[in-house]
Subunit: 580 residues, 2 copies
Amino acid sequence: MGNNPEDIKPSSLLELESTDKALLLPRLDPAKVTSPEEGMVVYDTTSDKFKIYNGSSWIASAGESIYNDDGTIFGDRTVTFSGAGEYMVADSSRQLFVYNSLTSKKEVFTPILEGYVGMYVCGPTVYSNVHLGNVRTFVSFDMIFRYLKFLGYKVRYVRNITDAGHLENDADEGEDRIVKKARLEQIEPMEVVQYYTLDFHNIMRKFNCLPPSIEPTATGHIIEQIEIIEKILENGLAYEVNGSVYFDVLKFNETKKYGKLSNRKVEELIHNTRALEGQSDKKNPQDFALWKKAEPQHVMRWVSPWSQGFPGWHLECTAMSTKYLGKSFDIHGGGMDLKFPHHECEIAQAEASNGTSPVGYWIHTNMLTLNGKKMAKSTGNNILPTDLFTGNTPLLQKEFSPSVVRFFMMQAHYRSILDFGNEALLASEKGYKRLMDALNLLNRLTPSQSSSIDVKGWECSCYNAMNDDFNTPILIAQLFEGVKYINWIEEGQQEISEEDLQILKSTMNSFVFEVLGLTKEQQDNSYSTKLEGVLKILINLRNEARLNKDYALSDKIRDELSVLGIQVKDLKKGIIYTLD
Amino acid sequence: MGNNPEDIKPSSLLELESTDKALLLPRLDPAKVTSPEEGMVVYDTTSDKFKIYNGSSWIASAGESIYNDDGTIFGDRTVTFSGAGEYMVADSSRQLFVYNSLTSKKEVFTPILEGYVGMYVCGPTVYSNVHLGNVRTFVSFDMIFRYLKFLGYKVRYVRNITDAGHLENDADEGEDRIVKKARLEQIEPMEVVQYYTLDFHNIMRKFNCLPPSIEPTATGHIIEQIEIIEKILENGLAYEVNGSVYFDVLKFNETKKYGKLSNRKVEELIHNTRALEGQSDKKNPQDFALWKKAEPQHVMRWVSPWSQGFPGWHLECTAMSTKYLGKSFDIHGGGMDLKFPHHECEIAQAEASNGTSPVGYWIHTNMLTLNGKKMAKSTGNNILPTDLFTGNTPLLQKEFSPSVVRFFMMQAHYRSILDFGNEALLASEKGYKRLMDALNLLNRLTPSQSSSIDVKGWECSCYNAMNDDFNTPILIAQLFEGVKYINWIEEGQQEISEEDLQILKSTMNSFVFEVLGLTKEQQDNSYSTKLEGVLKILINLRNEARLNKDYALSDKIRDELSVLGIQVKDLKKGIIYTLD
């Protein structure tokens, strides 16, 4: 193979469909390229730097970005590269690929406004403790949020709190779940909301999820929902019956397509709706409620042009996503169970009121099973997040820390089913510990003159994993490659240069803590317990010294402890120590 | 003095105004009372129990409540008593006195619904980091919330988040503070809200404040605010001008009294309002906005019957307090700077829309100064809560933990001015440590056959302090009496019976942790540092032993450490230890 850029092939690692994004870059002296074209990238063997031709000259990259001579960044894309073999593997745009549920394809991620991402994720309904399956969804989107930020995007991440409107049977009838809980506990519905919102935030904090940029509530956006209903009515795609308003699916389907996300046909949807009492108001069984007139006993109710009532449960997300992210925004996420009917209805509502398709990339997380079976309260095959942390469940042998559970979740791709189970968690705990041990060791490594390992190539493959639809299991496999390097270097089997050591450190730390969102575990309890244990050994030694009349030693121990702020007192009852 | 209940006098400790609540109870055999009356209480020297005459027989108290023979509680009041002298000091109703800002008097606290308390406290406006003065207010109401719960009340505590509507000059003109911040930072106003709400919650958590039962937002209650405006308009006490609606203070004052909380006369209020442009819409300068038509550049706006606009800044609290607590509720609190105009307007709005006086007890916290002067950003005489925790301010010599700062706040009565300063905080830190040391010691005390100290009398005085308008400085003085007892008993100067030791323990712990809301400080950092220090001493000893060829000792140390899960490795580079 020559050094002719014509030979360039896409990197198989990146699964790219066009050759202009990922390049096998020739290692050469750019001065030797006879007719460079603008945008051509090489690895300059004379300066040991990445260079790009800007049309008139070759400009250098410093670190991950390519700079103009005046220090400004050329373009707004960052660059990764690997030092493997005769060629550099480079992704000159660090292109991110995202699996879009709407097209069922991996697509290059191109936000509407360059450099900015608007992301909406359907949050929890706060009428009970957050479900582990939901936690997985939120942890997955936290990872996506983190990676987008890590790539330099300014992300507005909106995750709502559903504090009204969810009717029990997920159709448009039955009792509001929050109201039901409030009735059973004889408290105000908003006390139920507050209690479980706090619980949810608490669990999110334990899992080290970053708070979203905005966390709007359904009840906080009743006016906005009413406005959308008015628009849909104006556009003739909804109708009012007895104080309730329904979306006219068949009418909508005449000009737009209902069912495009879940690939369902309107005609086939009839069997999915049960003939419940009260649904007779609807023209067609596929129709869904935009506004429901409140029954006399319904506590949560608001005035509207049609009745005292409450919004239908699909409407809030349309109202809040478009209010805070615009009529069209980049990413809409949620668990895959929300694809139909919830997200399908959101698309219909947005198109019926604004005329535009609301979302660029639909991202859905897969479900979670427990010991291979669906989780269900009724069968007992069910676990709450706090059960994991306390181990207080017959389904687990011991407790697992939130960091270990998060690590466990990241070991599966967000679009794969994740099966919780004792053995798998135990294995993850070991892996997590091995990773953390290596990170501790990393700070103590000594650099050599040169590297015998390909750190830059490894760094590139970490990015490649994440750029391939946020493939965290592949990333973790790569991070364990890093662990191998660390142990080799520690044992003296391999060498690393000062520069590569910096790359190894920053890449390991960035991907583990910033992107995957793992944390070093708190070992507070174990510290105090261990301190007590070690002190006892020392105090026993001192007692023996005193028995042996070795007062020099016993005084030495006392004095050295005193320097640490630990006072040892000899009382009749025994020895007491106090800490400053 | 005889044992005749006629001699009974009120306890001076309680500052009571009637004799039927607090009693000097004769210590006697109740069988010797010739003509007992229903409700008469004595301390039964034969059973060593508190007894009450229920009309036909003497029934006993167990612990703090008086029980019927069948185990049910007689009445719903709990009882405290003291063993001082010949008489028991008892407050048979444990009556709570609260200073009511509306009447400027201490009043017996009688909730509308027995056993239940509804409390509303004006929360923060989330456009900047929470101010230390506000923190004091919220910590004070947290203490009040805690004490009411401790007394057995079921408390619904509502504290709002003001996320819209506060105009900059606190009059009805100028720019919305949140919108302004959003404009300056070029973000969506609700991102400002989210950021500072999280900051606020974080600070509240650090100060160990319990979350309120409901934490409603202003933007979440636009519909409710519109409904109240409609009612006030219907009642002829507001008027619309150019899309804005104003409260008609003079009209209201014809039948109701405006100014009753702050003791201001309507005629005198004119000079308090500045003649700003745009206020010309008002009939009279005392009038205040209920709804403001939004200027074209105003981002936060909602549809209403009058205009696209936003509610006036007094209205949200009327909407949220009455929605969640009813038209009349027990306690409304806030900083004293909110008395006028905010709370005055709330009273007017509630009376104008519902016809009823909304609040039983108005409680206002006093302000906070720094080194004797008002805090102000402009003069630099200003401190943020986080500055206290980091010590990152020229105004403090060192950092102080949230627990110490909370303790410091509790050392002043909530109605007194609290002056923050270096010396005072250092003194509090010492006091706090002395208290925590005593609580640790308390767990190690050994009981004797009998008590030489009056624990029950002391317990009573702890309740008395709190029942006297939540007098935390007096309570803390009493807790230091308890500290004195603990130290005396530890040193063998005084004795305590098993029963009294239990009372001492439960009273100290309840008042310190449950009521004052103090916490044992985390000493995590110091634990790990100290562990490292102590390990070094031990490892050095082991090295010396090896040098002296005392392998028995060196192996013993290694093995004992290994039992604790601490592995010591001898590497060329030196000794490394790892923890399990």
